[in-house]
């Protein structure tokens, strides 16, 4: 492990990579701060920039963007009560009341320190957990991987869909259907191309991400532009107050951070669960832990109530890298985007990444520490200035997002069919979003589609077409039982609500 850490440090501490972490954290903070634009959009917009980089540099940039976007999301939660991402909704519960009391600067500082601590502690967990899990996951066979992917897709549908499990599962199927367009990987038979040469290689992952996130988010903002509730939100950027945290508040944070970090990391590791669930659970857990007097302050500007979700959502970000780096299976929509980008670099994450590309494996982990430090020392003093980005008029913001989306696709293919296709998919995605059809399950399914078909093919060929492979191995059976439990729980909770 020491050797790995040194490899990681030597890569992550190169001048280019430190610069990339800084650029990533800064750009991520700005994009994440804008209400409606989250880490997936931020990472998607960065993909064209990473085309010229080597894989570790590209991944380091994207990891920086991820942390920056989560941190930026908490800024708009605290100042505007308009969370940039779902993972920072719980931050607004106590952060916004603090801002209303004239302590916005203090709330932002508490959020920054908690994010830093949560991210750093969980990066240590990742350092220990990832290599061990990599060794364990070498025992995984095709049926286990297939079952694991089914579990991941079911879990993300259950957790990301606001009680609309069926809608999310429909998005999963749609994502898998889109992934089957183009040549079959084994037989080279073309499928669903309708004699269009542009579809022979399949639909590009970047195109799908840009269309369903960057472009459709921009179109949604425009679409809802005249919504009075949204238009009414105004911000006073001049009265942020002091960013100093006193001794009593530091002690409160010190109590909250360790337990929220552990919870956040564990939730982040689970497939499908992520920063959102981690932050809500941490908020609820913290409320149960504190004394009666502190409990009364929750929702009115409690330090515990602000620190817990902020710590947990950053810890969950590190946790979500565990399944990506060790199994090659992303646990969340954001890490699915990163997996797609990695595949674009010709890197297949998984248990062997640890052995075949140790510099990538370790440099990403080490860059997380650097990213946390950068976030703290770069962003905290700059918050009053960065916060002004919230005042950027949408008249400039939207065209620039569209410009980055189109450029990303143009750089990749140099044909206009892909741009037309992206616009078409973005329009469909915008309407689907309006009616609460979630997009993260679609992205995860699209990314996993090829691998899922491959593992199903191997499993069925080995078992000679029999479905026995689903219960022959104990690991497969356990994973499938967990999946069935999740589906059963969704059905049970739906009926319970109705009654």
């Amino acid at each position: 492990m020491i050797e790995g850490i040194l490899i990681g440090l030597s890569t992550a501490l190169s001048l280019t990579n430190i610069l990339m972490v800084m650029v990533g954290c800064f750009a991520g903070t700005i994009i994440g701060m804008l209400p409606g634009l989250g880490p997936m959009t931020a990472i998607a917009l960065m993909i064209p920039i990473t085309y010229g980089f080597d894989p570790s540099t590209g991944l380091i940039l994207m990891a920086g963007v991820y942390y920056g976007a989560v941190f930026g999301g908490s800024t708009s939660s605290i100042l505007l009560n308009a969370p940039g991402i779902p993972g920072t909704v719980a931050t607004a519960f106590d952060g916004y009341p603090m801002a209303q009391q004239g302590k916005a600067g203090k709330a932002l500082a508490i959020a920054a320190y908690s994010s830093f601590a949560g991210g750093t502690i969980s990066a240590i967990f990742l350092l220990v957990a990832a290599p061990s899990l990599s060794k364990v996951s070498l025992a995984f066979r095709s049926p286990d991987y297939f079952a694991l992917m089914i579990l991941g897709l079911t879990a993300i549908s259950a957790f990301s869909s606001k009680g609309q499990f069926l809608k999310a599962m429909m998005m999963v199927v749609l994502g898998l259907m889109l992934a089957t367009v183009g040549q079959d990987s084994l037989s080279d038979i073309t499928r669903f191309t309708f004699n269009n040469m542009n579809l022979t290689d399949g639909i590009s992952f970047v195109l799908i991400v840009m269309a369903t996130f960057a472009m459709s988010e921009a179109l949604t903002i425009i679409f809802r532009g005249k919504d009075p509730n949204r238009a009414a939100k105004q911000i006073s950027l001049t009265e942020l107050g002091s960013i100093k945290v006193n001794k009593e508040e530091t002690i409160k944070m010190a109590k909250t951070i360790p337990r929220s970090s552990i919870l956040g990391f564990l939730i982040g590791v689970l497939p499908g669960a992520g920063a959102t669930i981690a932050s809500f659970l941490a908020y609820g857990m913290e409320r149960n832990y504190v004394n009666e007097e502190e409990k009364q302050k929750f929702g009115k500007g409690s330090v515990h109530g602000l620190s817990a979700p902020e710590t947990a959502n950053n810890a969950a970000c590190s946790g979500s890298f565990v399944p990506l780096l060790t199994l090659g299976i992303p646990g969340s929509g954001t890490t699915a985007v990163m997996l797609g980008a990695l595949l674009g670099f010709g890197i297949q994450p998984g248990p062997r990444l640890y052995q075949t590309n140790p510099e990538i494996f370790w440099s990403v982990i080490m860059s997380m520490y650097i990213g946390m430090v950068v976030l703290l020392i770069l962003n905290l003093p700059l918050i009053p200035y960065i916060a002004r980005i919230l005042a950027v008029p949408r008249n400039y913001l939207i065209p620039l997002i569209l410009f980055f989306s189109v450029t990303g696709i143009y750089l990749m293919s140099f044909n206009n069919f892909d741009i037309f296709l992206m616009i078409g998919i973005a329009v469909v995605a915008t309407f689907l979003r309006l009616y609460d059809f979630p997009m993260p399950p679609l992205i995860l399914a699209f990314v996993l589609g090829g691998l899922m078909e491959e593992t199903l093919r191997r499993s069925l060929l080995i078992s000679d077409g029999s479905p026995n492979f689903l219960w022959d191995r104990p690991i497969t059976l356990i994973i499938l039982l967990i999946t069935i439990t999740i589906v059963g729980w969704q059905i049970f909770s739906t009926f319970r609500k109705k009654n």
Binding site: F223, G225, N395, Y396, P399, F403, N416, L460
Partner: protein, 156 residues
């Protein structure tokens, strides 16, 4: 009878799944692969059936309304303009090149979204795109095809 938008979308998804399944059954596979436990048709066929089952359930089961969309507040005009500009942009990007088409796209988008500060609109279109192209092509060494700039000798 009034059908809710969610059920209408599910109905469209059902139609899509039926069409997908029909196409999946018609995928041409090699003769020796026809009766194999897994061929190029297998996975799409499973997906087609999954789509039909899920969308049918969504149509049949009673709906819990989560997304109340007030169509009066949706800005159809701006989005239509923006989409038309985007389609024109996509159509001309290969013919007139990246620099001019992108700069004009940005300028037109700012205008149709209601911006009238001409100086700022200009800076955030032509010089901005030029700077971005320099970043990609000049600094990051990412090839950016632009026949127009090549023709006038700006790009190699």
């Amino acid at each position: 009878m009034r059908i809710s938008p969610t059920k209408f979308i599910s109905l469209l998804f059902l139609v899509l799944s039926v069409f997908y399944l029909y196409t999946a059954y018609n995928i041409q596979v090699f003769a020796f692969d026809e009766n194999a436990p897994f061929n190029a048709r297998t996975f799409p066929i499973y997906l087609g059936w999954a789509g039909i089952i899920l969308s049918s359930l969504k149509i049949i089961l009673p709906e819990k309304v989560t997304a109340e969309v007030n169509h009066k507040h949706l800005d159809y005009k701006s989005i239509t303009y923006l989409l038309i500009i985007s389609l024109i942009y996509a159509a001309v990007i290969l013919k007139i090149g990246y620099f001019i088409s992108t700069s004009l796209f940005l300028f037109a988008s700012y205008y149709f979204l209601g911006e009238r500060r001409w100086g700022l609109m200009f800076i955030l279109s032509f010089p901005f795109v030029a700077a971005f192209m320099y970043l990609l092509h000049g600094l990051l060494n990412i090839y950016l095809r632009d026949p127009f700039l090549k023709y006038i000798g700006v790009m190699g």
